[in-house]
């Protein structure tokens, strides 16, 4: 990570204003004084139980919601500056694409390729260039063969890949996936996860992956745990998942191997040479290795 971070949040706060009986409004603080930096090309997983503010945080990053206070810099540019123009906002939304949970509710057109073209069309790009980008985006997500299908003929995983293609065609620098795998069956999850990982590894796209699935979080370079609108833990998957007790206290699971070794060490089991069991073990191979040494 060198130079300015791609995303930088400083003392970010956000409250929803909720209408109550009698015309009164009540402020519901959801994001509370959050600061973080995300480098270009990073793959960050964001964990947190339901209602902890993950989606809200994502929507602040591309100005679907405006922060109550605090600053957000994208690529060094202050997007919370009141002087920001509408064109700037659309440029930020182009740079930071978003893929949501329900694949059905983000596809606009009745034909796959027309849907992928929707974003570039909004950007006012010339037709030949849109055609080129659409073909390329569909090839990247492996959906070229379905270009002329209608979305309702596709499986959940395929629809989600079309949604991703629709974002890729806008040439984003970062994509936020807001629980984009949570409505899919295991094979759909795998398709989409493979696509996400390869976008990050092969194309250098910065990825923020909001998820409840620990096995997906393990794939990231960094895990941020959000609890009740605040950053609770932040580090590599190994560091974060070594805090098994803390994670469980905020209602999160850890991968099964991690939990098994944690429970063993809580029960006072040590390595044969007397050293404590390693913490934050993530891969099943590594876990099996340790268990073999114990037996």
């Amino acid at each position: 990570m060198s130079g300015t971070p791609f995303i930088k949040a400083e003392n970010l706060c956000f409250s929803y204003s909720i209408a109550e009986d009698g015309g009164l409004r009540r402020e519901l603080p959801v994001i509370k004084n959050v600061s973080f930096e995300i480098g270009r090309g990073d793959f960050v997983a964001i964990l947190g139980h339901n209602g902890s503010g993950k989606s809200t945080l994502a929507k602040l990053l591309n100005l679907i919601l405006t922060p109550t206070s605090g600053k957000i810099y994208i690529d060094g540019r202050d997007i919370t500056d009141p002087a920001i123009t509408e064109d700037d906002i659309f440029e930020i939304r182009r740079k930071i694409g978003m893929v949501f949970q329900n694949p059905d509710n983000q596809l606009v057109a009745t034909v796959v390729e027309e849907d992928v073209a929707f974003g570039p069309e909004n950007l006012g790009i010339p037709p030949e260039e849109i055609r080129r980008r659409v073909n390329e985006a569909l090839a990247i997500v492996g959906m070229s063969a379905y270009a002329r299908h209608s979305p309702h003929q596709l499986s959940g995983g395929q629809k989600q890949r079309v949604a991703i293609a629709g974002i890729i065609a806008m040439l984003p620098e970062c994509i936020v996936f807001d629980e984009s795998t949570s409505m899919l069956d295991p094979s759909g999850r795998k398709e989409v996860m493979n696509t996400i990982v390869s976008l990050n590894r092969d194309r250098g796209i910065t990825v923020l992956h909001i998820t409840h699935n620990m096995d997906e979080a393990v794939l990231a370079d960094r895990v941020i745990v959000i609890n009740d609108g605040e950053i609770f833990l932040d580090g590599t998957p190994r560091e974060v998942f070594s805090h098994v007790g803390e994670l469980q206290s905020v209602g999160l699971d850890v991968p099964q191997v991690t939990e098994l070794l944690y429970e063993l060490s809580v029960d006072g089991i040590k390595m044969p040479d007397g050293s404590p069991l390693p913490r934050g073990v993530l891969s099943e191979e590594e876990g099996a290795e340790i268990l073999r040494a114990l037996l």
Binding site: R93, G97, M98, N105, Q106, T110, A117, F118, P151
Partner: protein, 273 residues
């Protein structure tokens, strides 16, 4: 069951009619409809009938499908025929039974009126709805009506609404199916009882359907904003509608067709109505 409902009547194919630009087809259909109303004498109708049959042949749509499209009109056709048959007074009495009098003019009126209704439906469906996909139709309408934008008519917004409706109809139908099955599993009976009972049985379907449709609309709006949607201003299209030599040929054919109908009206208005 519900899934079998098809959208519009589009019948995919690659006939010359399918390949015409949707804008051309919209304009030519309008011309066709006007001609059907303008035609007065039997020769005029004959010209239109022949032309329509030629269009059906060119569209390569099976006659069975075309006839099926006429079925919903049987009532209107019968009604038109009866009204014209019994209520037209003329000089040439053919038949009298009590107060019912049928004149030869009545028979002629009935035949031509029925022909008019049938031609309207056949022509517009073969020229437009059977051979144009709903998306092409929407695009064509948006482009044709775009001059109205200057008068602040929200043409783009209407076209977008149509596209989204077309996109979500299958999704909502599927969802209705699911909800119905869920309610059936709980013992709700949709198929017996009087009208009121059946209507009441629909409430537990409609409410979840509406709730979900609003949630979908909300999520879709956010997704569209994230994809930089800001209305029709400054927006380009991947597929630009382009007129080809076919559209020119079709228009020339229509000029001759129009001339033939008008000539028949003026010079040989036999058996006029």
């Amino acid at each position: 069951m519900l899934k079998d409902i098809t959208l519009g009547q589009f019948f995919p194919g690659d006939s010359p009619l399918h390949k015409l630009d949707p804008r051309t087809k919209l304009i030519l259909t309008t011309v066709y409809i006007i001609l059907v109303f303008v035609a007065r004498g039997a020769p005029g109708f004959a010209v239109i009938l022949l032309f329509t049959l030629a269009m059906i042949a060119a569209s390569k749509i099976p006659a069975k499908i075309i006839l099926r499209g006429l079925r919903p009109l049987v009532f209107i056709i019968t009604f038109t025929a009866i009204i014209n048959l019994f209520w037209t007074k003329g000089e040439n009495l053919l038949f009298r039974l009590g107060f019912i009098e049928i004149y030869s003019e009545g028979v002629l009126y009935a035949v031509l009126m029925v022909l008019r209704v049938v031609l309207l439906l056949l022509g517009s469906s073969v020229l437009l709805t059977y051979t144009t996909s709903p998306i092409a139709l929407t695009d064509g309408l948006e482009q044709l009506l775009s001059p109205l934008k200057k008068l602040r008519v929200p043409v783009h917004e209407f076209a977008m609404m149509m596209t989204i409706a077309l996109r979500f109809i299958p999704t909502l139908i599927e969802e209705t199916d699911k909800i119905m099955n869920a309610q059936k599993a709980r013992g709700v009976d949709f198929s017996s009882g009087g009208i009121i009972r059946r209507a009441k049985a629909l409430i537990p379907i409609l409410i979840p359907l509406f709730v979900s449709a609003f949630r979908r609309a909300d999520e879709l709006a956010i997704a569209m904003e994230c994809r930089c949607y800001r209305g029709g201003e400054g927006r380009t299209r991947m597929k630009v509608l382009k007129l080809s030599y076919r559209d020119l040929v079709a228009s020339v054919i229509f000029v001759f067709f129009t001339a033939a109908v008008i000539a028949a009206n003026v010079f040989i208005p036999w058996l006029s109505v």
